[in-house]
Symmetry: C2
Subunit: 68 residues, 2 copies
């Protein structure tokens, strides 16, 4: 499955936004967005959702069956 970080990075490119653009629009810090795109595991869910909201997405449970 595509990682959360990759999802954000791809969507961001798709909309031709810089990390700074997206961080401002999503209301999170630039550093946070970078850590998100680079796959940091210990991020807070609410902040991640703030970013995903920009692309009509959110965090949810993905089961192993979903992967097949």
């Amino acid at each position: 499955m595509e990682t959360i970080g990759d999802f954000v990075k791809h969507k961001r490119k798709q909309y031709a936004l810089t990390q700074e653009d997206l961080s401002l629009k999503a209301g999170v810090g630039l550093r946070f967005l970078r850590e998100l795109e680079s796959g940091k595991k210990t991020l807070r869910m609410d902040k991640v959702n703030d970013v995903l909201d920009m692309f009509g997405a959110q965090l949810g449970v993905v089961t192993e069956e979903d992967e097949l």
Copy 2:
């Protein structure tokens, strides 16, 4: 879509575990597990994944299309 908290609660019942059982097995605090099941938004992803791992699941991106 089922919330993350509800997913955990249902799976936990399904395996007949108490919150304490699950928190011990997953290696998270009891209080954390309670906050997770009650829908707290600001939890850390890594801890949430520690719990979801117990049921072969993990956090992932869910798009609005997935919802339809």
